[in-house]
Point group: none
Chain length 126, copies 4
Amino acid sequence: MIYNDREPIYLQIMNDIKYQIVLGNLKVEERLLSIKEQSQHMGVNPNTIARVYSELEREQIVHKEKGLGTFVTPDESIIMKLKNEIAKENIIRFVARMQKIGICGENMKDMLARYLSEKHNEEKLL
Amino acid sequence: MIYNDREPIYLQIMNDIKYQIVLGNLKVEERLLSIKEQSQHMGVNPNTIARVYSELEREQIVHKEKGLGTFVTPDESIIMKLKNEIAKENIIRFVARMQKIGICGENMKDMLARYLSEKHNEEKLL
Amino acid sequence: MIYNDREPIYLQIMNDIKYQIVLGNLKVEERLLSIKEQSQHMGVNPNTIARVYSELEREQIVHKEKGLGTFVTPDESIIMKLKNEIAKENIIRFVARMQKIGICGENMKDMLARYLSEKHNEEKLL
Amino acid sequence: MIYNDREPIYLQIMNDIKYQIVLGNLKVEERLLSIKEQSQHMGVNPNTIARVYSELEREQIVHKEKGLGTFVTPDESIIMKLKNEIAKENIIRFVARMQKIGICGENMKDMLARYLSEKHNEEKLL
DNA sequence: GTGGTCTAGACCACA
DNA sequence: GTGGTCTAGACCACC
């Protein structure tokens, strides 16, 4: 009912970084930009980045080392878990939306399969 | 990379009403709130609602009758088409997000099927 | 370049009455409504109707008889001439518009013939 | 029976621009005046021009490019279609008026042909 | 600079 | 009452 909502910036940035990690753009043990660099790069207040890094640390996705910087976790299993969490969130949201407009599980599977095969054929043509 | 984007209000309201119709909260031939009522109800300018209703009319989802009001189309097939459009949009968004984190089509189908059967079992227990 | 123009009311009413006469709704020698009646009937100022009747008299389409009223001319040839004038005006305006968008005489004839035969066929189906 | 009707300004301006395009005064891919320039030039509110340009875009007659301006379509076939639409509207109006005064299709064709040949002869004399 | 969105409030025709 | 049109002027993102 409220139309001016948008996701808080720090959540958007957190998701951004999670995606970078899951996609492998940010590799295991890689150093993130410093808070100052990152804040300039994104045109955002340094406090916002600080919050992002702290939340990511709480979720054990990065770890800070005093005087050195912030680093992606060395633990690949955490990254795999992260990937599965994101995937599961997507699935939950998808199913909820489809059920909301009255589409049952079997139809979801059919429609997904059909769309994927359409998409596949289109891409072969390019 | 852009954090301040927001869907225009008129599009949000359009989607809102489309959902109401697809969900059956607004039935075939039912009268919508008048532009002025709706604008007060939503705390939005009447011109914004007028635009919403006009766009919906262009898409043949509602029709306006001067002096009487705005009504949901009597044509059930248009509503079915609308439902399929919304479903397709959901699928496209879902697939895009899954591909973005590196999950292929086969995995999407598997994960969806697994989630649905889990959910099914949980609901049987309740 | 001026967008708020419209035909003066008295000209609109004159044309209305000419059409009524040409179509035979107002017959030869028939009495028109009195100025007062006509003005009430049309929701228009009596002076406007008076001007209409005077102009029509100047064009010899009606004649006033003191104390009796205003009557359609008894002269059928004037009515025929009127019909031809209206037709000719229509043709002139039509040709001018078509030339303005670069359509030559032959094309006008073709398009007219085609439209008339389409229309003819449609009307047979009803 | 209604004497105070007036075409909405935005429709008048739309037709104006369509004519300019069909006549070739506005050429393929040519930039229109910006919304603000056009509104000043025509002594009309910018929103009115914005509506005109949006409707023309919906009809694929122009396309807008953010930050650059509004341009006539590069697609000549759309312009040809537009020309034919305008011609057809003229024909429809012409036929309706002629029928209204009791002139049948054959007579319309004759009168048009006669007028065109008269006109043709006159122009040769000049 | 461009167009896109939104507000506030006016007057109109129709019924 | 309804929707339709129009104005005046605001702020925004994109280029």
